[in-house]
Symmetry: C2
Subunit: 203 residues, 2 copies
């Protein structure tokens, strides 16, 4: 049995991710997740309200980290540059946690029930980013537009990052310290550069 609450929580998340990938989200029960994590089902529900939330534990931290970075950015930085800077810092967290983050994103992409939850969480992050930009003096609607489109570019980059690592790649060098640990950062830079050129042509 895991000794601390934090350790049980981490093991439940790992067990859930493994089982969802092995059998599919729909065919996995909370009892099975608890058993694999070496705890009882009551412990599962002490940590998570349902089978979906177990995969979204980091969302509140991510949102807090992003809004903090937006607030802390240099005063003269324009809105999308502020967001890119915040996303690059968040990307480092995802990259350091790649053995969990990457299969998690792949699983969400292929599971409708998880995608809906992910989209709802994402919309909340986008709103928090808009609010943080307003806090920097960015006018209301520009803040909303920058947050929505910047967040869309972040998602695009995250998807490209996953698509880049086929299952074969993962088996070969899937460790967090592997050669493509900076992959998400590269995709972010490219996405914002591409957005600039797309928008420049776009009229």
């Amino acid at each position: 049995m895991p000794r601390s609450g934090a350790e049980a929580r981490r093991r439940l998340q790992q067990a859930a991710l493994e089982l969802y990938r092995e059998r599919g989200f729909d065919r996995t029960t909370t009892a099975e997740i608890a058993a694999r994590a070496g705890v009882n089902e009551r412990t599962f529900f002490r940590h998570f309200p349902d089978k979906r939330e177990v995969l979204f534990d980091g969302e509140a931290d991510l949102r807090a980290a992003l809004t903090r970075e937006v607030a802390a950015a240099p005063a003269d930085l324009p809105p999308l540059a502020v967001l890119l800077r915040a996303f690059r810092k968040a990307a480092r967290i995802l990259e350091d946690n790649r053995p969990f983050a990457e299969p998690r994103l792949a699983l969400i992409a292929e599971t409708p029930a998880l995608r809906e939850r992910d989209l709802a969480k994402g919309a909340a992050v986008s709103e928090a980013l808009a609010e943080a930009l307003r806090g920097r003096g960015v006018p209301d609607r520009k803040a909303d537009l920058a947050a929505r489109t910047g967040w869309a570019a972040f998602h695009h980059a995250a998807q490209a990052w996953i698509d880049d690592s086929a299952p074969g790649d993962l088996a070969e060098g899937g460790s967090a310290a592997g050669g493509s640990a900076q992959g998400l950062d590269r995709h972010l830079l490219r996405a914002f550069e591409d957005l600039r050129s797309l928008a420049a042509q776009g009229r």
Copy 2:
């Protein structure tokens, strides 16, 4: 009793929208919707699988119209300009149908269960737009990025359109032919112009 299937369908949609606004989505039953529409509950389920889908009947048409417009755009038009052109045509449909479209969007914005469904439908539209851009020869990732950010800008414009019409405004001139019937189009043009200036600064 409504005579045709199409007429029953339209009445069910109108009844659902009215009841959701009067009592809230969660406190409305399919039986109540059917009663207000003057049909029985079995008829409701012949037309819609659940309480949410009754508000998303037009999504498939919207998606088809948008991808058709993307395919039909002049060959030399760049990706975001192709999308703006398609969104402006779709906006005309929404504007013509404003007495239904506008309260519907406002209701979705304030109801979590409807928002999740709307976000999932929206993600599917975004993917269809990316695919349609690829069909025009836009490279894979640029097509994905353009579709995601363009769709985000469309949502921003739609939200601004709703925010512009306070309930008071609606009561005064809420008819489809009213003075602000072109409102969504104006917001779309402004959103894409703002995106261009944001992206130009954004590095």
